[in-house]
């Protein structure tokens, strides 16, 4: 099977006063289509930095980031923006919905700025149980509902890769588990690749592979 995302020998340095702080030390990683991977680790281990590099938000100091076998590690800001729009779906910790867009418009907006042909956004929302919420604003939604909208938004432009940044952080364990289940089902049904950064050990039974990051080093646990 093809790797959708592959990281080869990624190093990320930050200047820290006179010294150089090495946040990511020679990291290699891969995820295939239809695979749901989780990255776990304590805070400060470099989880978020790793995710920003996977998500074309940050360039690594050295190493290669291959998305569909194309190196995206040293693209311009403009090219990175286009990659994020068209090839990657993001699910953020606090769902980060746009407060002035109604639920259906959150998806419609992504379709507006994208050049890809639009699919039926309403169908995705209905499938995620948000039929009653199509013309609501985010502020009246519960945390679980917001996170489901965020999942729908990540899927609407049909990316190959889904990146989830602690999607259960602001939810109780029951709703958190539901959200991860939805991601799992979507990944398997639509044959996407997904990477979830989490510190919630209770949902790890839902993922296909688990990677552990500690002190900037990543190893596959399962």
């Amino acid at each position: 099977m093809n790797n959708v995302l592959e990281l080869k020998n990624i190093i990320k340095n930050y200047p820290d006063g006179q010294q150089v702080n090495e946040v990511l030390k020679d990291i290699s990683f891969h995820v295939q289509s239809g695979e749901f991977a989780a990255i776990v680790g304590p805070s400060g281990a470099g989880k978020s930095t790793l995710l920003t590099i996977m998500g074309a938000l940050l360039s690594p100091s050295s190493g290669q980031v291959l998305l569909n076998n194309e190196d995206i590690s040293h693209l311009s800001k403009k090219q990175q923006t286009s990659i994020r729009l068209n090839n990657i779906g993001f699910i953020f910790q606090n769902s980060d919905l746009i407060p002035y867009l109604k639920i259906s418009e959150q998806l419609q907006f992504i379709q507006k700025i994208s050049s890809k042909p639009a699919i039926d956004a309403k169908e995705i929302l209905v499938k995620l149980g948000l039929e009653q919420r199509l013309s609501s604003y985010p502020r009246v939604l519960s945390g679980g509902e917001k996170q489901r909208v965020a999942i729908a938004r990540a899927l609407v432009n049909q990316p190959e890769l889904i990146l989830a940044d602690e999607p259960t952080a602001s939810l109780d364990s029951k709703r958190g588990r539901e959200v991860v289940q939805i991601i799992q089902q979507t990944v398997h049904e639509e044959n996407k690749a997904a990477v979830m950064v989490t510190h919630d050990e209770r949902v790890l039974d839902l993922v296909d592979s688990v990677w552990q990051i500690e002190d900037g080093k990543l190893k596959k646990v399962r």
């Binding site: 923006t81 994020r84 907006f109």
Partner: protein
């Protein structure tokens, strides 16, 4: 535009309040501009509306008509050269009263002219001024506000000479007083001892003569008593209003956009280009200011129509349009600070739950 319209729809109250501020400032600017123009007309329209381009005055008269005295020898020098394009003019600020009511006095300005010269004004009703030694004079329609009608008699308060209003001319004023046009024979009855006059008006430009002070129309108007002081302070106010609104709007736009920085971070992380967001902010600000400017222009215009004749107010469509464009520029300059912030937002802020 998509985001802009959705956001305006969602945050109606916030944007209405901001629009109201812009509306009030633009309204104040337009109103003071109208007042400044109105006062300028009220002060200098008799000079401004005449077809004279240059005024010859006595040397060292500082372009002030009342400080200049010329005699017939001076007149000959210019009339021989310019013939019909030269005209004598005397300006006397005096007081008149209604023939029947002794205590109803009005300050006026007499313009003594030769009825055959180009200074004889166009009339709106009645008959033109002639050079005959009769009582028929032309007055500014400003006197209508004092209750004078065609055919009314008035008396010069100093000399007790009586005249009849035989015609009205359009709002001609000098130093906030209505102008009454007299011929030389009529003036002689009021001021018998005076044989001189104040200035020679010329229908010609760029004249040099070192024996006289030659002033253009603009400097003569500026030298009308009170004119530059009035205009100066009003334009100072307008200038300050522009500067104040520049800063007030900049602060408001900045705060409004500061609140949305995390949304901009998310939007960028989702793949929205910076150019799109800049357009979004600019169209939001332009839409807001254009609608506020249009509303205040319309309201100012309606107020202008309802303004009483005694309150000098004048606002041409050109000035309204100019003010509107200037203000739009001010709002867009005010938005620059917020734009810098928007451009600098790093999409990484969306990751790690920082907001």
């Amino acid at each position: 535009m998509y985001l802009t319209l959705k956001e305006l729809r969602h945050d109606k109250l916030k944007f209405t309040a901001l629009g109201l501020i812009i509306f009030l400032i633009v309204f104040l600017v337009l109103f003071i501009t109208g007042l400044a123009n109105g006062l300028a007309n009220d002060s200098g329209s008799a000079i401004k509306e005449s077809s004279a381009q240059t005024f010859v005055l006595e040397k060292n008269s500082q372009a002030r008509l009342n400080r200049s005295t010329l005699n017939n020898q001076d007149w000959k020098k210019f009339s021989n050269k310019y013939h019909h394009n030269a005209a004598k003019l005397s300006v006397n600020q005096m007081t008149i009263q209604k023939a029947s009511q002794k205590n109803k006095k009005t300050d006026i300005t007499y313009y003594t002219i030769n009825a055959d010269s180009f200074l004889n004004p166009k009339i709106t009703d009645g008959q033109k001024l002639t050079n005959k030694n009769n009582n028929q004079v032309i007055v500014s329609s400003k006197l209508k506000a004092e209750g004078y009608k065609l055919g009314d008699k008035f008396k010069d308060s100093t000399s007790n000479q009586a005249f009849t209003i035989s015609g009205f001319t359009k709002n001609q004023a000098y130093s906030h007083t209505p102008v009454i046009f007299l011929n030389q024979k009529q003036t002689h009855r009021i001021l018998p001892q005076v044989n001189s006059f104040n200035t020679i008006a010329l229908k010609a430009k760029n004249i040099k003569n070192s024996n006289y002070q030659v002033a253009n129309k603009k400097s003569v108007i500026n030298a009308i008593p009170g004119y530059s002081a009035e205009q100066g302070s009003l334009y100072l106010m307008i200038g300050f209003l522009y500067i104040i609104s520049l800063f007030v709007l900049a602060v408001f736009f900045y705060i409004i956009n500061l609140q949305k920085l995390s949304d901009f971070g998310t939007l960028k992380a989702l793949g929205t280009s910076t150019a799109y967001l800049v357009k979004h902010v600019l169209s939001e600000m332009s839409l807001l200011s254009i609608s506020s400017i249009v509303i205040s222009s319309v309201i100012t215009y309606l107020i202008k129509l309802k303004m009483p004749a005694t309150m000098p107010f004048d606002l041409s469509p050109t000035i309204i349009l100019g003010t509107g464009i200037l203000f739009l520029a001010i709002t867009l300059i005010s938005a620059i600070l917020s734009l810098i912030k928007v451009i600098k937002v790093d999409p990484i802020t969306a990751i790690g739950g920082n907001n």
